[in-house]
């Protein structure tokens, strides 16, 4: 006997950056403003009990709980029908790019997505927030009930476990964030630190923006073209340093980002020595993004000067990426254990109606037999009544116990499932 012969099916259908090019992904993408409406439309498809849509720039996934009869007999699956009706995309266009996971594999996939193991940049933190947004939208329209509620809550817990128990998201993999990370290895907090931008490149601006977001207090800008320097200074609410006074003022900065197009080096080793002397040996961090380089690499030998050029930053980013790969293995192990636990919980939940029915039946028999016996027993004192009550309850519970255990086991055992 299988207690959950009418149990719903969990199905995940989607496309992502691995299976579909951007041209396909952008046709399928659902803007956050339309997400709730789309989820409602999906949940109203025949045979769908619960629904959630995750739509990011790298993936669109439809997670549904469907009637088992519906999934086995339908000519066209409800989810594909939704894509055709709501987004007006012919199924034939999508078929080569679509993946579909059911039951255990669907749970596993969701846990991997939430934990950022399926992301383009493994370990990136945004995906968890996007899954949470999708969940909020689905709840808002009443598309989430028992199964998805439990599954999503578990997915959030798994993602948190992966983040805290592995180092998957701890290292930076972009040039700008590597620069920030390095600065924090030197200065700890960037609160109150001064950043000097020498030259005006896009990447140096990005690095400066990152540093400001992390708490850097002020920006100094030096550029050969004064108007451009003023423009950048205004953008960052900073201060302009005339280029011809650069060497007098540079020691004010804790972090120097250089990106000029100068063919010669701007900062030599002796400049580093002078700056450090004037700063009473407080460290300086030079981020040299320019090609050809602006800072003489030998300045790195000066105690207290740290010089990183674009290749150095790229090397650190690649090493961090490789580290994330190693951490991903540990994270996969966590996900597998959590999938096992969740599936077991889900399966034993199928036995609940049968257990309840058995318990109610036994209780009815107990009460009726007790009523019959009451006539023969005559008048009992309250203590005696309580003792008889306790005795019958205990007998019923003990007689039921082996059957309840067997029921739970049979539901948890995959061999007993269809």
């Amino acid at each position: 006997m299988s207690v959950n012969s009418t149990a719903p099916n969990l199905i995940l259908l989607g496309i992502n950056h691995n299976t579909a090019p951007i041209e396909v992904r952008e046709r399928l993408a659902i803007a956050s403003s339309r997400l709730a409406d789309a989820t409602r439309a999906l949940a109203h498809q025949p045979g769908i009990r619960e629904a959630l849509i995750l739509s990011t720039c790298n993936r669109v996934e439809l997670l549904t709980v469907q009637d088992s009869a519906q999934t086995s007999t339908a000519e066209k699956p409800a989810t594909l029908r939704f894509l055709y009706e709501y987004l007006n995309i012919p199924v034939t266009d999508l078929q080569p790019h679509i993946y579909e996971f059911r039951e255990r594999e669907a749970i596993r996939h969701l846990f991997r997505v939430a934990s950022s193991l399926d992301s383009m940049v493994v370990g990136e933190p945004q995906i968890l927030g996007q899954v949470k947004d999708a969940y909020s939208a689905a709840r808002e329209v009443g598309a989430v009930s028992t199964t998805l509620e439990g599954l999503l809550q578990r997915a959030f817990t798994v993602a948190k476990r992966v983040r805290t128990e592995t180092q998957i998201g701890s290292s930076s993999v972009s040039i700008a964030s590597v620069a920030v990370d390095l600065a924090r290895k030197i200065f700890d907090s960037l609160e109150g630190k001064t950043v000097l931008l020498v030259g005006a490149g896009k990447m140096s601006e990005l690095a400066a923006r990152h540093l400001i977001q992390q708490g850097a207090a002020s920006i100094l800008v030096a550029n050969r073209t004064q108007s451009r320097a003023e423009q950048i200074a205004q953008e960052f609410n900073g201060q302009v340093i005339p280029f011809d006074r650069l060497y007098e003022q540079a020691d004010r900065a804790d972090i120097v980002i250089t990106s000029t197009g100068a063919p010669q080096k701007i900062f030599s080793r002796s400049h580093g020595q002078q700056f450090l002397h004037r700063r009473r040996n407080r460290p300086m961090f030079f981020i040299d993004i320019a090609v050809p380089r602006d800072v003489d690499p030998s300045m790195n030998e000066v105690e207290g000067c740290f010089v990183y050029d674009i290749d150095d930053l790229q090397q650190v980013a690649q090493a961090n990426l490789a580290d994330r790969g190693k951490e991903a293995e540990a994270a996969e192990a966590i996900v597998t254990r959590e999938v096992d636990k969740f599936q077991l919980r889900l399966q034993s939940r199928g036995a609940v109606p049968a257990i309840l029915s058995l318990q109610q039946n036994a209780e009815a028999i107990r009460e009726s037999e007790l009523a019959k016996a009451a006539k023969r027993l005559g008048s009992l004192t309250p203590d005696q009544q309580a003792a008889v009550e306790a005795l019958t309850r205990s007998l019923t519970a003990k007689l039921l116990h082996p059957q309840l255990v067997a029921l739970r086991r049979s539901e948890s055992n995959p061999e007993n499932q269809e």
């Binding site: 805290t164 180092q167 390095l182 924090r184 907090s189 700063r279 040996n281 105690e303 740290f306």
Partner: protein, 269 residues
């Protein structure tokens, strides 16, 4: 009973020493949540055992080497806890906690049996003298350790291989090195002053000819000199480590000079 509490403390130091490894090396917060409470509990039991031990021996301060080492271990553990709270780094625990464990272990399983006849051991002033100087030693040791970690982190950053994450940022280690030194200075000054006044009253001027006393004042001068140089030239990195190491050697010499000192022989023959 005091040995029992000390052994409990040693066990907890041991647990903290192991837990701090994944907490610091792999940045595992769960292990940090074991290392810090274990250290806190160890300090509590260590303190209880020390009080009981001193009461049982009818004196108010550590007399023999084992008691003194145990006392020093307690200071180091307290300092580690303070640094972990203030600077949010447990990296120093990789080195400090095993030292606390070893210092406690020796006292827990080879307790000193020396008795004392020195009358001033029952005064609070001599307790302050010893406690302040041990606090200064602990501060100096932590300053040296922080300077070494600074050097190591600087080396990694210069070699462009900063992937190693357990080392605290340069600014943090620099702050720890300087702040511990600044904390140690008043401790050492007050400790030496109190000791000098007591010795002047009990022994007289001959006290100032004792080798340990002479070395102690040399240590104080070296300490002052180090702080002066560090503060005025912003000395960091390799040269700061050299300077700290030199002063630390002087401290070790002062410690070893107990063997030559007449003034610091409190134990009964």
């Amino acid at each position: 009973m005091s040995l029992l509490w000390l052994r409990v403390a040693v066990l907890l130091y041991g647990i903290a020493s192991l837990a701090v490894l994944p907490a610091a090396l792999y940045n595992r917060p769960r292990w940090r949540h074991i290392a810090i409470p274990a250290t806190t509990s160890a300090i509590f039991f260590h303190f209880v055992s020390l009080i009981e031990m001193l009461n049982a021996a009818h004196h108010r301060l550590p007399v023999d080497a084992h008691e003194t080492q145990s006392f020093l271990g307690l200071f180091l553990a307290l300092a580690f806890l303070f640094i972990a709270g203030r600077y949010k780094t447990v990296s120093l625990g990789i080195f400090v906690l095993p030292i606390c464990f070893l210092l406690g272990l020796i006292a827990a399983f080879r307790p000193g049996e020396e008795a004392t006849t020195f009358p001033h051991l029952h005064t609070g002033w001599i307790f302050l003298h010893v406690a302040l100087l041990l606090a200064a030693y602990a501060a100096l040791f932590l300053s040296l350790l922080a300077s070494l970690l600074y050097l190591l982190q600087e080396h990694r950053l210069k070699k462009k291989s900063p992937a190693i994450t357990w080392l605290p940022p340069l600014e943090t280690t620099d702050q720890i090195a300087l702040k511990t030194l600044l904390f140690g200075l008043p401790c050492m000054t007050a400790g030496l002053l109190i000791g000098s006044v007591i010795a002047q009253q009990t022994i007289g001027p001959s006290y100032f000819l004792d080798p340990k006393v002479l070395l102690s004042f040399a240590m104080w001068l070296a300490y002052i000199g180090m702080i002066f140089i560090r503060r005025h030239s912003g000395l960091r990195g390799r040269r700061a480590v050299y300077l700290s190491s030199f002063v630390f050697l002087v401290v070790l010499a002062v410690w070893a000079a107990n063997q030559l000192s007449v003034v610091h022989r409190f134990t009964a023959p």
